[in-house]
């Protein structure tokens, strides 16, 4: 489990990796400055997702994600789609305004993606 709290982006975000359930949980507010700043997160996602038979990405606690963040997430989904044996489930929340539309768009990038909006 890792936790990151960028000093210039309060309130902080949290990224939890749960090997037992093959789940990565991202919560809080993600507004890193530019796509490059998201590289450590991308690496964490890919590293774990590829080592699991099935990956669950739980974003239901992610209240805010800026444009660089959604770009990072889109690339991650495309990468997962391009690996024929990859399986991805994304959990979102209906109460978080941005997730309804943006996560459905991710599903269009990867039709096999399972989207659960709670």
């Amino acid at each position: 489990m890792s936790e990151q709290t960028p000093p210039d982006a309060p309130p902080a975000y949290t990224l939890d990796v749960d090997d037992a359930t093959n789940t990565i949980r991202v919560s809080g507010t993600l507004r890193l400055n530019g796509v490059a700043a998201y590289q450590p997160i991308t690496d964490t996602l890919m590293e774990n997702a590829l080592s699991w038979p099935q990956c669950v990405l739980d974003l239901s606690g992610l209240a805010f994600l800026n444009s660089s963040g959604i770009a990072m997430l889109s690339r991650f989904v495309i990468d997962m789609r391009n690996r024929e044996d990859a399986s991805l489930t994304i959990i979102g929340s209906k109460s978080v305004v941005w997730q309804g539309k943006s996560l459905r768009n991710l599903q269009r990038l990867m039709p096999s993606l399972v989207l659960e909006l709670k």
Partner: protein, 490 residues
């Protein structure tokens, strides 16, 4: 090929027709054979060449088919990438729109919160500053009136101390609710200025309307009868200071002037005993509470009348109840009862050593007593609605003497009649204590404010029963304030 066949035919034709020497024929035959061989070989070469060309073409076709296959796969990959990119752009755009809307919503909420008082939901000081600037600009540009009124909860600290801050917060919320109810119009807005102080902006209404609204608010709070037993009124009351700018000809040259005047007025309202409206009007009545600009001859005449109080009527001014449903509003030729205080104070012979603050306090006291007399005259039936009340003032034996009467019946009364018995057997201090006790027991608090004022000014009260046959409850009452040392009595 066609040429060779023709040559052969010609040769055969020539051999049968001419019958030449054999050598010639052999030569021709040889030529023909050579020609034939040449033709055949040429055909073989051409055929081989065609075959080679065909092979090359077939190879090229296969190569191109392979290239086309590769190109198709590249195109498909590019098409996929294009679709991905289009989806990515759509996702980013829509995500950006959603987040933008979310930020705007939060910004709007935060902006609203930054201008609102969380306890009362009224505008806060920041909102007031913005609104005042707008209202002042509108009034100045269009030569319209503008009123600002300070509202202060009386004895709020002791209320908090006695009942706790939650109760104090509820009292503030109640006042805010009443303020909103009185305002009514969208253009009239109330703000929490700080602590127990509120302020309202009333644009484009007359001074009469502003005073009526202020008085209505004071009365509403009074009528709520929220218990506050340690105060003279025994309930929660408010003091209001109102400044009205009638237009560009007024004395107020800036919004800050107007607010400062309203602030001074609420201070005056408090120093006069609280639970009242004190106002300053400029370019409205032609008079302001601070200093009435009276013609000199009227001042001299009034001064003479005051000094003739011992032998004559003193200074008498008749007041008619205003058409407004407010007992505290009395008018005399367009002047309020409050104006009487200005009128008198303006020509009182003050000693040179009298400070402005002392003069202001005396003026407020006179205004307070005049109002008390007028109210009680109405309350106790000396004057019916529509009948005039005369307030008489005189300087008598070094005392300022006040009396209110109905000129038709000559009845004179103040609420002090309730304390005749108490005063008969004791001092003003005793009567004051008795009034406080009566109030704490839920009894009538009439006269308490006046008694307090009398104590402050070391005043005396004189009375006598009306002649036999009149109502025994009516007494001729005079309030005599020992002229402070600041007034010359020579």
């Amino acid at each position: 090929m066609t040429g060779s066949r023709m040559d052969t035919d010609q040769t055969r034709s020539g051999a049968s027709d001419q019958q030449g020497p054999p050598e010639t024929l052999r030569q021709k035959l040889s030529d023909l054979e050579i020609a034939l061989t040449t033709a055949v070989e040429h055909g073989d070469i051409v055929e081989a060449d065609l075959a080679a060309t065909n092979d090359l073409l077939q190879a090229e076709i296969r190569e191109r088919q392979l290239a086309e296959g590769r190109l198709t796969r590249v195109l498909m990959a590019l098409e996929k990438r294009k679709t991905d990119l289009e989806l990515l752009v759509t996702t980013l755009t829509e995500h950006g729109d959603v987040m933008d809307a979310e930020w705007l919503s939060r910004y709007t909420q935060v902006e609203a919160l930054s201008l609102a008082d969380p306890l009362t939901a009224l505008g806060n000081r920041r909102a007031f500053d913005k609104a005042l600037e707008q209202a002042w600009t509108d009034a100045r540009d269009n030569d319209k009136s503008l009123t600002v009124a300070f509202i202060d909860l009386d004895f709020f600290k002791s209320y908090n101390d006695q009942f706790g801050h939650p109760a104090g917060d509820r009292a503030l919320a109640v006042l805010a609710r009443e303020l909103t109810a009185v305002n009514g119009s969208r253009n009239q807005a109330a703000y929490r200025y700080g602590g127990e102080e509120f302020i309202v902006i009333w644009p484009r209404i007359s001074a009469d309307q502003a005073l009526a609204q202020a008085e209505s608010l004071r009365q509403r709070i009074w009528d709520l009868a929220i218990s506050h037993p340690t105060t003279p009124a025994g309930r929660v009351t408010i003091s209001i200071g109102l400044a009205h700018c009638g237009g560009n000809d007024s004395d107020f040259k800036s919004a800050e002037d107007l607010v400062a005047k309203a602030d001074a007025c609420v201070y005056a309202a408090k120093s006069r005993g609280r639970n009242q409206v004190h106002h300053a009007v400029s370019a409205g009545y032609g008079a302001s509470s601070g200093s009435a600009d009276l013609p000199r001859e009227r001042q001299v005449g009034a001064y003479s009348l005051l000094h003739e109080g011992g032998t004559g009527e003193g200074l008498s001014l008749s007041f008619l109840p205003s058409s407004l449903p407010l007992q505290r509003r009395w008018r005399n030729n367009g002047l309020s009862a409050d104006f009487l205080a200005d009128y008198v104070t303006n020509f009182l012979p003050f000693e040179e050593t009298a400070t402005e603050q002392e003069q202001l306090m005396l003026r407020d006291s006179i205004s307070f007593i005049a109002n008390e007399l007028l109210e009680n005259a109405m309350k106790y039936g000396v004057s019916a609605p529509g009948e005039p009340i005369t307030v008489r003032l005189s300087l008598l034996d070094g005392q300022l003497v006040f009396a209110a009467s109905n000129p038709a019946t000559n009845d004179v009364v103040t609420r002090l009649e309730h304390f005749v018995g108490r005063l008969d057997s004791g001092t003003v201090e005793d009567a004051h204590l008795a009034a406080l006790e009566a109030q704490s027991e839920g009894g009538d608090d009439s006269g308490l404010g006046l008694l307090t004022m009398m104590m402050d000014y070391d005043a005396e009260v004189g009375w006598k029963l009306q002649p036999a046959g009149t109502n025994a409850h009516r007494v001729t009452t005079q309030v005599r304030i020992a002229a402070p040392a600041m007034i010359r009595t020579d």
